[in-house]
Symmetry: C2
Subunit: 117 residues, 2 copies
């Protein structure tokens, strides 16, 4: 089955997890259509414009993987501040926290995958 | 935990699944390190140079999602030939088959996620 880009659900979310500004999330798989087969709850591309962020939050019962596609940013990786660039992978395990902020001048695009632990 | 691009495992695979030429696979999560927590077995970026392909193969016991990041290609979507472009999502369910070929002039980059059914 093919879902073309224009058919995908894109949400604009303000102050996501207490972050700054508005981010866009484009969803590749949908839990409502059982497209994760119970293994997870998010597979999406997050687009953060310069100055916006996803606030610090804890993962409980699941874990999240970010893959930076473009742009640059600063991550709080369970208490440590780290800069990230395209190709970098951030793994936030069950019980850990993370945040991400676009500290650059172009869009920060991040693939996000949340699977259950 | 952050894995920087240069620390990721990249495999060059010839005639993958009977396909043409050599493709590159960069792995974001590793089964050997239990990074999928038993929910899947592949989360990677596949890079197909022009003219190369991943051959037609069936998924048994799992399902795969491709997200086209860049380039263009032709997909066999369980028997139907369909062209794909960036942002398109190809879902191949348990028991279905797919292949993908770079029919364009630039690299075809595809995010691939295999979860268990």
């Amino acid at each position: 089955m093919i879902k073309h880009l224009e058919e995908l659900r894109t949400d604009s979310v303000s102050n996501f997890r207490g972050g700054k500004g508005e981010i866009q999330m484009t969803h590749f798989l949908e839990t409502e259509k059982d497209e994760f087969k119970g293994k997870g709850r998010l597979f999406a591309k997050n687009v953060l414009k310069p100055g916006t962020s996803i606030g610090l939050h804890e993962h409980v019962g699941d874990f999240e993987t970010y893959v930076v596609l473009s742009g640059e940013g600063m991550v709080d990786d369970n208490g440590e501040q780290k800069s990230v660039k395209p190709g970098d992978v951030i793994i936030t395990k069950n019980g850990e926290k993370h945040s991400i902020e676009n500290t650059g001048t172009v869009d920060l695009e991040v693939m996000a995958l949340i699977l259950f632990d």
